[in-house]
């Protein structure tokens, strides 16, 4: 290894170590904001769905769409094939709509947003620097002028509280707003694309989401436009006994490009909260979407009490030739995660990539992975999954790679590694491989191991403590994925890796 390499690594690792030191609490986003809320009654039925629709001033076609989803959902049974265990969820014991009272009248600008809300974002600290941006100040991490701007849509419980940089985006022709606004302002686009990637009937949670989603983000990038800044949505569940059901729809029209970041947190609560989101990406000819997630929902305490149930359906449809999508996820939070961001590679020469770090500690359970469905010719996909399991946690990679008969000369490469810390946790790998033509090639590799004793000893011998050494090694293990993240997220993710594993050794 060259000297420069060593220095770079030391630099990076030092940041991680620093992050571990500075974060006193185990889950630093565990505060709740005391804001007067307006709730809909608990439970889900046609009246609740109509109420949600009415609260969002939706046109009747939208209300009907929701009602047809509800009708379907009522006939469905909750799936149980994932390797996760949790007590039965009473779907009638959840508030499907909660909204800060101050949002009754829609704020026209951020200045009109309840200061307490903004304070919440302030408290959230490091991760996205949204609070800076939300406040309208354009400064970088270190206080210097930042080159890259990030436009943010923040969703607080069920409703969007404000989108930044709207004018600047508008000048570029990019639409970035809450989905409720899009339904009112751009009904043709919404009608054309909503449910076209994840149909209402897709699965239990997606169907429920179609009926009761309250808000979410909407992005449309017109043909040939390279979105001038990173777009970001920040999700926060605050209210107790509330489900969050956001819906995101991103359309990259021909030849366009957009990078989208998503961050999630929730307060510490003893009870489990439900999050069932749907994300749909439409990628037309020669367009590209990068979608990055740092999911840090409250994972529950050391004994597995509380935490978010995260049942999310994310899918990208590469409709046009040479369309590209890249999913990157860092999953450190939630008590239970059920999530498979997928790529439908329909266009010829389209490409799908999936980079994932899933960390489970204490009693967390994650069943996550991806589906790469190759339909077009010369399509390519790449999967890099790093699962880390500590404490009493269970971490499962579940994935599908499918080459259809017509997807000639397509390629897939999958690397799927699991790391175990401690002998009470589990790591599982369940890939499905389906190849139906001979000119395509699939390569799948998976390994499971523990943190290498020799590496640990080497660190110790050089004076590095147990937790720091583990954080260092785990960060090295995740490097391929961390590198795929946009810079703003990479540092945060690295810090999260260390924080999530606190208390897992020794």
């Amino acid at each position: 290894m060259s000297n420069t390499d060593t220095y770079e690594r030391e630099g990076v690792d030092q940041d991680t170590v620093e992050a571990v030191r500075t974060v006193g609490q185990k889950y630093k986003y565990g505060f709740s904001t005391d804001i007067e809320m307006e709730y809909a009654p608990k439970g889900v039925n046609a009246d609740i769905v109509k109420l949600i629709s009415k609260k969002n001033d939706e046109p009747s076609w939208m209300t009907d769409w929701r009602l047809s989803a509800l009708k379907r959902w009522e006939k469905l049974v909750e799936p149980n094939w994932a390797m996760v265990n949790y007590p039965e969820i009473d779907f009638q014991d959840i508030h499907y709509y909660a909204k800060p009272k101050s949002m009754e009248k829609k704020p026209k600008s951020l200045a009109e947003v309840d200061p307490k809300l903004l304070e919440t974002y302030e408290k959230l600290g490091i991760p996205l620097k949204e609070q800076i941006i939300l406040a309208g100040v354009e400064v970088g991490v270190d206080g210097t002028q930042e080159q890259r701007k990030v436009a943010v849509d923040a969703v607080f419980d069920s409703v969007s509280v404000g989108t930044t940089f709207k004018t600047e985006l508008k000048a570029a022709g990019v639409i970035f707003c809450s989905i409720s606004e899009a339904i009112r302002e751009y009904p043709d686009l919404v009608k054309k694309y909503l449910g076209s990637v994840v149909p209402q009937s897709d699965n239990y949670y997606a169907t429920l989401n179609a009926a009761v989603f309250t808000d979410g983000s909407f992005v449309y990038v017109p043909p040939g436009v390279r979105c001038p800044m990173e777009l970001s949505t920040y999700f926060r569940i605050n209210a107790e006994n509330t489900g969050q059901f956001e819906r995101t729809l991103i359309i990259a029209d021909k030849g366009s490009y957009v990078s989208y970041l998503e961050g999630c947190t929730a307060p510490q609560r003893d009870t489990n909260q439900l999050h069932a989101a749907v994300v749909e990406l439409v990628i037309e000819e020669d367009a590209e979407i990068k979608y990055s997630t740092v999911q840090n929902w409250y994972p529950g305490d050391e004994n597995g009490k509380g935490g978010i149930y995260n049942f999310v359906t994310k899918r990208a449809d590469c409709r046009g030739d040479r369309a590209k999508v890249m999913w990157t996820q860092v999953e450190t939070g939630s008590a239970v995660t059920w999530k498979y961001p997928s790529c439908i590679l329909r266009g010829n020469e389209s490409q799908g990539e999936f980079y994932s770090i899933a960390i489970t500690n204490n009693h967390q359970q994650a069943d996550t992975g991806t589906k790469m469905v190759h339909l077009g010719q010369n399509t390519k996909s790449r999967i890099v999954s790093k699962g880390i399991s500590a404490g009493f946690a269970q971490n499962t990679y579940r994935g599908l790679v499918s080459m259809h008969p017509k997807a000639k000369k397509s390629r897939n490469f999958t690397q799927c590694d699991s790391l175990l810390i401690g002998d009470k946790c589990g790591a599982h790998t369940i890939p499905y491989i389906e190849c139906k033509n001979n000119s395509s090639r699939i390569e799948h590799e998976a390994t499971t191991s523990k943190v290498d004793d020799d590496q640990l000893f080497y660190c110790h011998q050089r004076g590095i403590g147990e937790e720091e050494a583990v954080a260092l090694i785990v960060n090295g293990f995740c490097k391929d994925v961390l590198q795929a993240l946009p810079m703003e997220f990479a540092m945060e993710a690295q810090a999260l890796v260390a924080i999530s594993l606190e208390g897992s050794v020794g």
Binding site: W81, P405, K408, S418, L420, I421, G422, D423, K424, C425, G426, A427, H428, T429, I430, P431, Y432, I433, E434, C435, K436, N437, N438, S439, S440, R441, I442, E443, H444, E445, A446, T447, T448, S449, K450
Partner: protein
Amino acid sequence: MPKTNLTEQKISSYSLPTEASWAIKSRKSALNWLETTGLPNRRDEYWKNTDPSYFNTIKKPERNKIDYVENSIFENIDRINIVFEDGYFNASKSDELLLKGIEIDTISVANQKDNHWSANYFGVLEKSSQVPVERTLASLNTAFAVEGLAIRITDKIDKPISITYLHTNDTSDVLIHHVIKIEKNASVTILESGGVASRSNCLMEVFVCENAEFDHVRVQGRSHEKIAVTHLFANLLKDSSMKSFTLTVNGKSIRNEYVVDINGENSKAHLGGAAVGDRGFSQDDTIFVSHNNPNCESRQVFKKVLRNGAKGVFQGKILVKDGAQKTDGYQISQGLMLDDDSSFLAKPELEIYADDVICSHGSTCGEIDNAALFYLTSRGIPMAEAQDMLVLAFLNDAIEEISDESIRTIIGSRLKDWMVKRHKS
């Protein structure tokens, strides 16, 4: 047809034999499980890629064209030969069964005796292998199979025991159930070969005791029309080892299930398989290897060469239980597709609850490597021969799992034979 209805009809087409009480107890227990659970159907996760109706139906299999009536592929090996003809033990064609270190009875004899050694073993592994995945075709076998062998090995046996299954009746539909126990420090090689029957359901329960060795090579006959489901259940005690290799050439639908329970320290289980086929060939290896104790090793090496509409399925799982530290588990499944209308479907699984382990799996599929093909032909090797070389090279890792060199050669020549015929068809 509803599941229970099919199961009921299937059950009513057989009857329980009159035997010693321990045998009846085992059979009734299997029957009870079959009745409550039902035969597999297409909606079962474990039957996602292979249609169980080939094995489930009550009516006799379609009249088979028996394209190969063959003596054992192992004919030239010095062995103890035991012959089954269309599923029935044939004493006159078999060698003498009274040999030092070996006790062999047919199960129809053994199950009549009140105190036969197999009383504690018949149906035991089949029963314990019903969780977490139901294998009711095996229950069907335990409940109704009246043919098969109870083999007990008490010494190191040099000569392989070769079981030859002659297939002459074109509508034969058989159940065969073997129980094998290899006592402490003993070892044996079991060879199986032949077409068995038009439809067969063969089951083998193998108990490998302390420091014992079990070597198993199976060649499933060449008939294009045969339908076969097999179960190999093995239980390994400490310091023991097993090796099992299966060659499948042709067939309509072949499903080989393996359940290996590693129950002692320092044991090894190696499973290998090579499958080649065409013309609507459907071949499925479904494997479950469970590491219940520390310091054990397992290998799964399965290769499939597919052509002309063939389908290759692999479902293999390594389970490492809590406490099974220092496990070394490896699994590779590969499909080589020689033309464009074949398919390869794989589900290689790892389920791991211990941290100090080295477990990995790989799975690939694709066509012949064109760079290698060009390299070979650029050295003057004709295209067809170059392809054959690469096909054999592809299968090589699996064949290497056979310990005996002369058997490896026999397997290699059977594969070459298939390739020569392929060029003609």
